[in-house]
Amino acid sequence: MADAAVREVAAPAAESGALAGAIESAGYAGRVPAQTARRLLRNRSVVAGGLALLVFVAAAIFANTISTHEPTRLEPARRLQAPSATHYLGTDEFGRDVWSLVVHGSRVSLVVGLATMLVTSLAGVTIGVAAGYYRRLDLVLMRVMDGLMAFPAILLAIALMAARGPGVWNVIMALSVVYTPRTAMLMRSTVLSVRELDFVEAARALGRRDVGIAVRHILPSCVAPLLVQGSFIFAYAILAEAILGFLGVGVPPYVPSWGNVIASGKNVMREAFWVSLFPGLALTIAGLSLNLVGDGLRDTLDPRLAHSGR
C-alpha cells in the first residue's frame, strides 16, 4: 500500500536490458520533439490520463472559484450532513464542506507531487551523472543510495517527518530523500550505457570536454527515462503525502489535504461515510491518471518496454 510507491519505481530501473531501447528512442525524442508529441497524442492512456490530470490542475488553480464554501470554516451546526444541493459531498464532523475540502486538497497534493518530482529529478540527475562519470564517487554514492533504499519507503518518510515536524515543505523534503535514490540509480545506469555509444565516442574523439559531452550528448538521453520515472514518482508522492497526512505526521491537520480529510472521516465513518469516501476517490483517480500517463510515456518513448507486457 504505502510502498505502492517503491515497487513500480524500482521496476523500470531494474530493467537494464530495456535501457538501450530507452536511450535510442530518447536520442530520437531529443531531436524530433514535434514527432514525439504527435505519437504521444495518439497514445490513448497518455491522453486519458493527461485529461484527468488537467482536471486536477484546474481544480487546484481555480480552487477558490470552484469550491462552494470556505474549506476551513467550522460550522458545528451543520456537522455530518449528507451530500445535498448545498453541500455536494456532505459535511464533516466540524461542519466543513467536503467538496470544498477535496477541491482545496488537490492543491497540497499537486504541489507536493510536483515539487517532489522536480527535486528528485534534479538530485537524481546530479548524483547519477556524477556517479556515472567518476568511478571513485560512484562507489560512495551508490553505497549511500543502496543504504537509503534499504528502508521501507513510507517508514523512512515517517521517521523524517517525526524528526522535522509537520509542514508542506518538510513533506516534500522527506519524500525527496525517499525517492531520489531510485532516480539516481536509473540516471547512473543510463549514463553508463550512453557513455559507451558510438556518438559519444565520436564526440570524445573530436576532443570535446567531459562537461560538454555530458550536457550536449548524455543529458538528452536521460530525458525520456526521467519523464517516465518522474510521472510515477509524482503518483507515489501524492499517495505518500496522503498516507503521512492520514497518520497525522504530514501537513498540519488544519490544512485541507486529502490525507487529513480521510483521517477525520475515519472517526465518523459509521455516521458519515462520505467524509473519507470522496477524498479517497480523488486520490485514486489522481494516482490512476498519473500511472496512465507514466505507462503511456514509457510505451511511446521506450518501444522495447511496450512489448514486455508491463
Binding site: R143, D146, P152, I154, A242, F246, L292
Partner: protein
C-alpha cells in the same frame, strides 16, 4: 558458488552502515535542541542536561556516531522514556501482530496475484486479460489505507460480517484471530497482488515466446499442457523474487494498516512514539524494520542464485 554467497553477504555491511548512520542522524534532524523537544517545556535545565549526558549528545558528533555503532552492534537500541524499558524489548513485544499481518497479506497477494497473471497471459488479449489487467492497474492505484476504510465500512459496519478493528493472538484464540485478520490482510495484500499479477503476466508471456514452448506446441501438446507444464515453471523464478520483494514492501505497508485496524504492532508503536517524542523508539523501529528488509533481500538473492545458476556465475 560459495564465492558468490560470501560476496553477497559482505555487501550487506556497507548497506547496514548507511542504514545505521541515517537512523543515528534522525535525532540530529530535529529542529533546535533535541533534548528540550523530547522532554517538553516543563523540564528543568538540570533534567535537560542530565538527559543530554545520558544520551551522549554532549559529545562531538563523530564520537556519538561511533558509540551508536558500538551500541547497535551489541544489540542495544537504547531506552524508551515513555514505556520505561529497553527499546528492543518493546519492539520484540510488538513484533508478533506485524509479522502475522505481513504473512497473511503475503498469502493474499500470492493467491490472488499469481493465478490472475497466469490466466491473463494464457489468454492474452481476451476479455479475461483486459479485465484482470484493469483490475491490476486499479489495484496499484487504490490507496491501501483508504481501501481498508471502505472494507471496514462495507464488511463490518454495514454487513456486520467481520470485526471492524482489533487483534487477538493466534495462540490465544485462533478463530477470533482469523476473523480479526481477514480485512487487514485483504486490504494490505490486494495492492501487492496487483503488482504480482502484472509481473507474473509479463514473465509468463516471455516464457510463452520461448523456443521450447513452440516445440511443445509443434509436437501437439494441448494449450493447458504447454502453459502449466512448460511455461509456468520457467516463469516462476522471477515471480519468486517479486514475492520476496513484496514481503519486504508489506512490512512498510503493515505500519499503516495497523493504524487503520487498531492492531497493536510496530506501526502503532512508532506512531505513538512520535506523538510522545520518544525518539529512541522511533529510531529503533526504523532500524529493525530496515534490517529486516535488508535480510529479506539477502535471502531472496541467495535463494535466487540457488535456483538459477546463471546468477552466481554471471
Amino acid at each position: 558458488m560459495s564465492a558468490y554467497f560470501v560476496r553477497r553477504l559482505f555487501a550487506v555491511i556497507p548497506v547496514m552502515a548507511v542504514v545505521v548512520t541515517v537512523v543515528f542522524l534522525l535525532i540530529h534532524l530535529i529542529p533546535g535542541d533535541p533534548v528540550s523537544v523530547m522532554l517538553g517545556p516543563d523540564a528543568s535545565p538540570a533534567q535537560v542536561d542530565a538527559t543530554r549526558r545520558a544520551l551522549g549528545l554532549d559529545r562531538p558528533l563523530h564520537e556519538q556516531l561511533l558509540r551508536f555503532y558500538a551500541r547497535v552492534i551489541r544489540g542495544d537500541l537504547g531506552q524508551s522514556y515513555f514505556l520505561d524499558r529497553p527499546v528492543l524489548t518493546a519492539i520484540v513485544e510488538r513484533a508478533e501482530p506485524t509479522l502475522v499481518l505481513t504473512f497473511s497479506a503475503l498469502l493474499v497477494a500470492v493467491l490472488i496475484g499469481v493465478p490472475s497473471g497466469i490466466v491473463a497471459a494464457a489468454h492474452r488479449g481476451s476479455p479475461w486479460d483486459r479485465v484482470l489487467m484493469l483490475g491490476a492497474l486499479l489495484g496499484v492505484c487504490i490507496p491501501g489505507f483508504w481501501l481498508s476504510l471502505n472494507f471496514i465500512y462495507l464488511f463490518a459496519v454495514r454487513l456486520g460480517w467481520l470485526p471492524a478493528a482489533g487483534y487477538t493472538s493466534i495462540l490465544v484464540d485462533p478463530v477470533a484471530a482469523g476473523r480479526y485478520m481477514v480485512l487487514p490482510a485483504l486490504s494490505l495484500g490486494f495492492n501487492q497482488s496487483a503488482l504480482i499479477a502484472r509481473i507474473a503476466r509479463s514473465c509468463m508471456l516471455e516464457a510463452l515466446h520461448q523456443d521450447y514452448v513452440r516445440t511443445a506446441r509443434a509436437k501437439g501438446l494441448s494449450q493447458r499442457a504447454v502453459v502449466y507444464g512448460h511455461a509456468f515453471r520457467n516463469a516462476l523464478v522471477p515471480v519468486v523474487t517479486v514475492i520476496g520483494i513484496t514481503m519486504a514492501i508489506l512490512i512498510g505497508g503493515a505500519v499503516v494498516t495497523e493504524i487503520v485496524f487498531n492492531i497493536p504492532g510496530l506501526g502503532r508503536l512508532i506512531i505513538s512514539a512520535i506523538l510522545r517524542r520518544d525518539y529512541p523508539v522511533v529510531q529503533g523501529v526504523v532500524l529493525v524494520t530496515a534490517a529486516a528488509y535488508v535480510m529479506i533481500n539477502l535471502t531472496i538473492d541467495l535463494l535466487y542464485a540457488f535456483i538459477d545458476p546463471r546468477i552466481r556465475y554471471g
